[in-house]
Symmetry: C2
Subunit: 497 residues, 2 copies
């Protein structure tokens, strides 16, 4: 009988190995299908320390062509050392269309570990659960296939494996204090993982793998992944769901009702400019030391005076502590990712200031009008943008959005001036004239932006800029006020985390 | 008389301010000329702590359009914490053609500071001086305009300024231990700066600015920069100098003389593969812990079996510790920079392994043959590549270069097989057939590569791959040997720095 048992076990093992091999070649074949269908895939492998995440990934990629995938191993920093929103390091390595990213531990590990370390409190934990769900939905709605696998092992199995690693001088270093702590607190982790999974199971469902049996887990992972890809390819790119607007909004005027006759005297301008710049200089110092992230967004009509406005601001800033990001049309590697990816990856480190000269609102303005994305895409984008911005302000960022506003006559005047002044000619292109012809379409789009995205946490500021000097002073005043408020709130916010 | 003196001072100041303003607009105008001429510019501001580097940069950029420049403030890490070659952080932010990067302290500060901290010894200091000269020459020869400014202040002026900063609670944090240490060791720094400048004055000359007088320094900096740009624009893109080959080389056979009949038995292959992979697995662990950087370069004929060869290697590696970089034709933002930039920025952190599937040798193979760069460019590239590779091995990297070799008949066979096997069809494109027609041209180019770049520190290995299994085993054996040697040498190397 025991002999039979052994034979059976060998046979099982052989057939398991054969199945793994077969599934690995299915996955290899699917690479081509994914490329053709332009579908990007994220495979997140979560699980216990010593559950075998690394080895599992090794099996998953073993037949794949390195051109098609990337393995990312994010670290869970101490919350106090994080300089970016916690999802930043998961957004950064998302693949372009047609490719696969394997995450060796993902956003669950990040949130759970920080919660158990008492680095974030219950409220912040709940907020991050919400952000995770938003993050997953946004990726899904923008065409990403996401797979979330959890490699589960029993406490006694974890003990054996950790012990095995520690015993060997060559592998001892692989076990760190965090692993031993997890083992000691196995039950608390179990409950926390469970809670997190239950609360993040709706948008993208979890798959639990039996990590006690490595081969079975590998086979199961391959089955799950290949089946999901097969379904994804046959269904085609997911087009997203439409979302209910539920952000508290500020009421905004229509552009045509904005009084553009406001102006400022030269003397007053000079005096105020000097005063405000010197105040901003001081505040920049404090922002830097308190590690408050700051994001200024500039949108506005062509020739409205964005550039000059930004320069008056940057003149007050220490060049070591800010960056200006001029946003043009996306490059191919940007276009082939989630539309917010190129903004995520330009976010400032905490304590730094970043200025976007044009922004993610391109999605609901130029991309909408020029048909660079589908109607579904831009309609969904208002909500996605509101979520993105709430994530930023939840993170503690000062986020200001300026619409630099002029009327059509003033634009024409400035266009003509640019055309007739040799030093300014580079500033005016045929595209500017073509955009001008679409003034009315843009006005509709901008009014919709103001209506739908002027959230309480990230409201729009309309800056009357027929008089550029007036516009600059108004902008700088808003900035001073916002920075002062952020510095005041800083201590309080820290306490609430 | 005193009154006259005061009036004169006011007039001087007024005329200085006026000149600064005028030069700022000249610089603004030059942006367009730089864009048109596609000339990239690097302005490096070195100087004493509290000499006013930040303020100077503020003045230099104050009129510029943020789309045209970037300010980078590199930090001088402790040598033990550096995970990349020391020039990495200066190569990374080099601008694309037509744009300007301002460096708020540069490679001089890095080398001098580490030398004075006794983190690098005299030999390493000399080596870095040589690397700096090579770096500057390469940038210059690849069209970069480089400006090196040193902002000089006297010891008493530094004392006053540091004291002024420390006294104010708002600015106290700006002065750190390193600044105070520099002040205390002013004389040693003076000598070290001097020595460095003398030894790096030939390729790109230094400009010393009188930082005791801020306005004068600003004016002078603007004069120097605008004059240099004017000259650069009128002379057009620098085409580089031809360089003498002076690297100790290994003699290599011609490709046609390589015996491709070598092969391995199936059984032997399986046994050896298992043994070598398990050994590489162990070595990867040690490499990771000892923080040795590892770079494997794969070149070879289409269908020679690079992909399968790489997969046999990566199967032995922990996915968390390596990256494979498939190299295709450069993207626009890569094409518009120094041709090695896209490889510099993909270098592995120390302790990691990176595998290039095709490499920087594209410059002297496909780019040469297809005419994607000028003859001057590719002729100069052998030397530039040898310097780049010496820099990598000096850094402590294991650098292996494989030419995966087959003959033309075997290629034809494999192409046909790919075309006739549905799962393999994606692997064969019209371009492969076109390249095949140029076999003879490629053979000339490859022979020249082998002849000119098989340096003692980074020799080529020809891998006979008519029998793919033989090729894999040979490659893995070379890797095992190289890693073992690197681990043995590791301690010794550390002591020599």
């Amino acid at each position: 009988m025991l002999r039979d048992f052994e034979t059976k076990k060998r046979e099982d093992k052989a057939s398991l190995n054969a199945e793994i091999k077969a599934l690995q070649s299915v996955l290899l074949g699917q690479q081509q299908l994914l490329m053709k269908a332009e579908l990007p895939v994220i495979v997140m492998i979560e699980g216990w320390a010593a559950a075998g995440k690394g080895s599992l990934i090794k099996e998953l990629i073993s037949e794949l062509d390195p051109r098609f995938y990337h393995v990312e191993s994010p670290k869970v920093l101490r919350e106090a050392e994080e300089r970016f929103p916690f999802l930043y390091q998961y957004m950064k390595p998302i693949p372009v269309n047609g490719k696969v990213t394997f995450l060796d531990s993902g956003w669950m590990e990040n949130v759970v570990r920080k919660y158990l370390r008492h680095e974030i409190n219950k409220d912040e934990y709940r907020r991050r659960i919400r952000q995770v769900n938003e993050f997953e939905r946004q990726l899904r709605d923008n065409g990403y296939i996401i797979l979330k696998l959890f490699l589960h092992i029993r406490k006694d199995v974890q003990y054996e494996r950790l012990y095995g690693l520690v015993e060997e001088p060559a592998t001892e270093w692989r076990v760190d204090g965090e692993d031993l702590w997890q083992h000691k607190e196995y039950k608390r982790f179990l409950e926390a993982y469970d809670d997190f999974m239950e609360k993040t199971n709706e948008i993208v469902g979890w798959h639990i793998l039996d990590g006690n049996r490595r081969k079975t887990a590998t086979r199961d992972a391959l089955r799950i992944i290949t089946q999901r890809i097969e379904r994804g390819v046959s269904e085609g790119r997911f087009e997203g769901v439409s979302l209910e607007e539920d952000f508290p909004l500020r009421e905004m005027p229509k552009l045509k009702d904005v009084d553009l006759s406001v102006s400022i005297e030269d003397d007053e301008y000079k005096k105020e400019l000097k005063r405000l710049q010197s105040r901003i200089s001081e505040l920049h110092n404090i922002i830097y030391r308190k590690r408050i992230p700051v994001i200024f967004c500039y949108e506005g009509w062509d020739a409205a005076g964005k550039g000059g406005n930004i320069r008056r601001l940057t003149y007050a800033l220490d060049p070591r502590g800010f960056d200006v990001h001029p946003i043009a049309s996306p490059l191919p590697h940007e276009k082939n990712r989630h539309f917010l990816w190129r903004f995520w990856t330009k976010l400032p480190k905490s304590g730094h200031i970043c200025i976007f000269d044009r922004t993610w609102y391109g999605r609901v303005m130029v991309e909408r009008i020029e048909g660079f994305c589908s109607e579904k895409d831009w309609r969904r984008a208002y909500h996605e943008i509101n979520e993105f911005e709430r994530m930023l302000t939840d993170w503690g960022a000062v986020l200001l959005k300026f619409w630099i506003h002029i009327d059509s006559d003033v634009q024409l005047e400035r266009f003509k001036d640019r055309q007739n002044t040799p030093e300014k000619q580079w500033k005016i292109t045929d595209e500017d004239w073509r955009n001008r012809e679409k003034w009315d379409e843009y006005e509709i789009a901008v009014n919709e932006v103001l209506e739908k995205t002027s959230t309480k946490n990230a409201p729009w500021h309309i800056i009357e800029s027929n008089d550029k000097q007036y516009a600059r002073i108004k902008t700088l005043k808003i900035i001073v006020k916002a920075l002062e408020k952020a510095i005041d709130n800083h201590f309080e916010n820290m306490m609430n985390k």
